[in-house]
């Protein structure tokens, strides 16, 4: 009986520790899209930190048979708190890896290698953490007044571990179900686009790694206090893969899925092997366990990539779940047939000046955006060469040119998505060449993308609301203050997005995943989203590409109205008919250079332009 009770307490502690770790990794991977292949570093750092903070000085402990740093002999809960802080601090150097620009898989490899490196270092450098033998006889909390081997103690320990895990669950839920969590998921789905809408990727990723690292470290501290030893063998880089397997199986982007995964994979595998009959070959069972983990990952990613408990779709529009249009996240029903049926709603009745916060804009056709000698070279090939032009406030300016003329590259340099190789960009009289793209977006310089760029696993409404600037719940601190702090404002933002959605006639798709819409609908979502970012200058990269001509003209009409309301628009397009109808003036680019500028009528009279573009 009592053997089973002790076994039960062990399971409770291990289960809580694994669940806590999976919740943290899921927060990083499933919500923020950071593939932290070095996750085990954080759990391990917490375990070591808690150990050496709670142990006496190395020379005095048990005749000094182990060597380690610190040895501060701190009473509980200080070692756990210290471990949590260490977990957060250790995340900071990795911010350089996961920061803004590096490909996700490259960063992941960097983290994986870091885990391997740190394991080797700790193993080989004995004075720091006692090398490969690891640290043992770590004191359990309060062991001087309560014997840790007593069942009561172990149940209390398990209880504390469970309570802390539940606390962590609510902490992460508070973060992910806020406007801030929406921004994290937007970053996960498409970081370049999130950046172009004003999200600070570096800060978001750094905060995520720090918070995730702190929780991971706490889980390590709880574990080491219970098992009283920690050694490099326990935290090989592959342990992280086990946690990934747990999350993939349980359901990435779902907190309950993470807990389920923790119970099924790390805990389940550990426990099942206890009941296997002994085999002659000691490596056989562990080896087969690893094979099973590998198979689990591959089979789940193939047959059920969303996991047992998929990410929950967030219904924001207020309609009941049943009524909301159900669209899958991936199935693309593209094609102009569906798009021809798109009918815009009451767009003409929308008050853009009010809805898009354009009230303060002075419409005076001044130069609002300009470039001087803008240049871009890739691999020594000059794509954009010495481009200088001006964009006037309150006008729809067109940017045309044949394929490869450098239109999209120019637009990307204006928005800051691509750094320029030379020249300057001025916005509202200020030199913004060095300003990062998210800052430009915050200042009202917002772009759209040529290729589909919706946040796939966000609903249409979430896509729209995520773009709204200055949300008080769209920061770590704001999210922590809870719904009471940001709820009312978020409701107003949702209302505003619904109004725009209604104008574009897509209300019935409000709660559908944006990834499931048709090509034309997704273009509309992108335009709406850019509008809700409250641009002063809107940079559109072929907004009509792949859109049914009827719809294209309806969009064009609205662009004119937007300009009348005070918005400045620069539009890349190669449909001449669109340029003719809506753009004045038009800038012609050819082979990376400005060829001419003027009204379409003037350009048609220019033989050079006609030769370079209008004919060929």
């Amino acid at each position: 009986m009592s053997a089973w009770a002790f076994y039960l307490t062990t399971i409770i502690v291990y289960g809580a520790v694994d669940a806590m770790a999976c919740l943290a990794l899921n927060y990083e991977f499933g919500f923020a899209g950071i593939s932290n292949f070095g996750f085990i570093i954080f759990q391990s750092a917490g375990a070591y930190a808690a150990a050496i903070l709670s142990m006496p000085r190395a020379a005095t402990s048990n005749g000094g048979f182990q060597q380690y740093a610190l040895g501060w002999n701190l009473p509980w809960p200080l070692p756990w708190i210290g471990a949590t802080i260490v977990g957060g601090l250790i995340a900071l150097p990795f911010v350089f890896l996961v920061g803004k620009r590096l490909r996700g898989d490259f960063a992941a490899v960097g983290l994986l290698v870091s885990a391997v490196l740190l394991n080797v270092l700790v193993k080989d450098y004995v004075p720091f953490l006692n090398g490969s033998a690891g640290i043992s006889i770590v004191p359990a909390p309060f062991q001087s007044i309560w014997d840790p081997q007593v069942l009561g103690y172990q149940f209390v320990y398990g209880g504390v571990a469970v309570v802390l895990t539940v606390g962590v669950y609510f902490l992460f839920r508070r973060l992910t179900e806020s406007p801030y969590g929406r921004s994290l998921r937007a970053m996960r789905d498409n970081d370049i686009v999130a950046d172009s809408l004003g999200k600070n990727l570096r800060v978001q990723r750094a905060t995520t790694l720090v918070v995730g690292g702190m929780v991971a470290a706490l889980s390590g501290a709880i574990l080491v206090g219970f098992i009283s030893l920690w050694a490099p063998g326990a935290w090989g880089y592959a342990e992280t893969i086990v946690l990934f397997a747990a999350i993939i199986l349980g359901g990435a982007g779902n907190h309950k899925g993470a807990i389920l995964g923790a119970i099924l994979v790390p805990l389940g595998f550990e426990e099942i092997t206890r009941f296997l009959p002994p085999v002659a070959n000691p490596t056989l069972v562990p080896a087969l366990e690893w094979v099973a983990i590998g198979l689990l990952i591959i089979l789940f990613l193939w047959f059920r990539p969303e996991g047992v408990l998929p990410e929950r779709r967030r219904i924001l529009s207020g309609v009941s779940k049943k009524d909301a249009a159900v669209l899958p996240a991936e199935a693309v029903t593209s094609g102009q047939d569906t798009d021809a049926l798109i009918k815009l709603g009451n767009l003409d009745e929308l008050n853009f000046r009010h809805l898009l916060r354009l009230e303060d804009v002075v419409s005076d056709h001044r130069v609002i955006l300009s470039t001087q000698g803008l240049t871009k070279t890739f691999h020594g090939v000059t794509v954009v060469s010495d481009v200088s032009f001006e964009v006037h406030q309150g006008r729809v300016t067109g940017l045309i040119g044949p394929n490869g003329a450098g239109k999209s590259t120019t637009l990307a340099m204006l928005a800051g998505t691509l750094p320029s190789s030379g020249g300057r960009v001025f916005y509202e009289g200020k030199d913004i060449t060095a300003l990062p793209s998210n800052e430009r977006a915050k200042n009202g310089l917002v772009r759209t993308f040529q290729l589909a760029s919706e946040f796939k696993k966000l609903t249409v409404l979430e896509n729209l609301v995520s773009a709204i600037p200055n949300q008080s719940g769209d920061s770590f601190r704001g999210a922590m203050r809870g719904r009471r702090y940001w709820g009312r404002e978020d409701k107003a933002n949702i209302g505003r997005a619904m109004e725009v959605l209604e104008g574009f006639g897509l209300t019935q798709y409000a709660d559908a995943y944006a990834g499931g819409l048709s090509g034309g609908q997704r273009r509309l979502v992108e335009i709406m989203r850019a509008l809700l970012a409250e641009p002063k200058v809107l940079l559109l990269d072929e907004p009509m590409a792949g859109v049914h001509p009827n719809l294209a003209h309806k969009i064009g009409d609205q662009l004119t109205r937007l300009a009348e309301a005070g918005m400045t628009i620069l539009m890349v397009e190669h449909e001449l008919a669109i340029m003719d109808a809506y753009c004045d003036p038009v800038i012609v680019l050819a082979e990376g250079k400005v060829l001419a500028m003027g009204t379409m009528a003037e350009l048609r009279a220019n033989s050079e332009v006609v030769e370079a573009y209008l004919v060929g």
Binding site: D105, V109, V120, E289, I298
Partner: protein
């Protein structure tokens, strides 16, 4: 100076492995983290041929064949189907990690956890320029030199090489220009897999004793060499491998040899942080 000799061997083996690894990345954009497990599996095939009395050259052919076929199959039946689903690149990397676990530990379950070694005579020792190399090591060096020469010839002077470079630069453009991209990719995986198998065999012949998990850390050297020269650049891989191979062995002679991999780690992290496209490379378009 003797460490220079060791470094040369390490570099030569690493060069073969890295060129294969980087070619896979170049044409399919996959960081094949299962590469080490294919290497060690090929090495074991080679080892069993050796144990059963086969000639040394036949054992090498066995490794080359295994690496080639296994790599091709991995790409054809696992990586390509996953990529067709239009998933984030990281998904394929996670899949590769899963494959690595299956490959490495499946092998371990099969052959057990014991260390084995080839029954090869190291040959007589040769001294020159202050280096001491065994006959076996000289042969390994010669094989590596010949193979790298062949790779150079294929890349530079054959239609296949041209098609590979085109596919690597821009698969869509290559397809539109009449390159049979799918066939080029398959061929590349066959060739790179052959390099992988060869690297596995000569790596284990050179280290002497090995077991199923011996190549697990090798991926770090591979990645360091690849990122140093620029991902997807075969010539960069050769340069990176030479630098990493020499530097790890020479540093091991002066600092604690236990830290010899640390240098490679630091290079890799430094490259990822500051120059992820290699010291010569620049950001790719698109």
């Amino acid at each position: 100076m003797s460490s220079f000799g060791f470094g040369l061997i390490t570099a030569a083996v690493l060069a073969i492995a890295t060129v294969g690894f980087t070619m896979q990345f170049a044409v399919t954009n996959v960081l094949n983290l299962a590469y080490g497990s294919v290497m060690i599996n090929s090495a074991f095939v080679s080892y069993y041929l050796n144990v059963h009395g086969m000639n040394a050259w036949i054992t090498l052919v066995g490794a080359v064949f295994t690496g080639s076929v296994v790599s091709w199959a991995l790409n054809r039946f696992i990586f390509t189907p996953f990529q067709r689903r239009n998933l984030a690149p990281i998904t394929v990397v996670i899949v590769a990690l899963g494959v690595d676990l299956i490959g490495t530990f499946g092998l371990q379950a099969l052959v057990g956890g014991n260390y084995v070694s080839f029954r090869l005579s190291p040959g007589s020792e040769y001294h020159f320029l202050g280096m001491i190399l065994s006959g076996l090591q000289l042969i390994i060096l010669a094989i590596c030199a010949v193979v790298l020469g062949l790779v150079h010839w294929v890349l530079k002077y054959t239609r296949l090489g041209k098609a590979m470079r085109a596919t690597s630069a821009n698969p869509n453009l290559a397809r539109n220009s009449g390159v049979k991209v799918q066939r080029v990719i398959s061929t590349t995986w066959l060739i790179s897999g052959a390099l992988c198998g060869l690297a596995g065999a000569v790596f284990t012949m050179n280290t002497g004793v090995f077991e199923a998990t011996s190549a697990q850390l090798y991926i770090v050297l591979l990645l360091a060499a690849m990122f140093l020269g620029g991902p997807g650049e075969p010539y960069g891989a050769m340069f990176g491998a030479l630098t990493i191979g020499l530097a790890t062995e020479i540093s091991a002679a002066y600092v604690n040899p236990q830290y010899k991999e640390v240098f490679a780690f630091l290079v890799l992290l430094g490259m990822l942080t500051f120059r992820p496209y290699g010291i010569f490379g620049s950001e790719k378009t698109n």
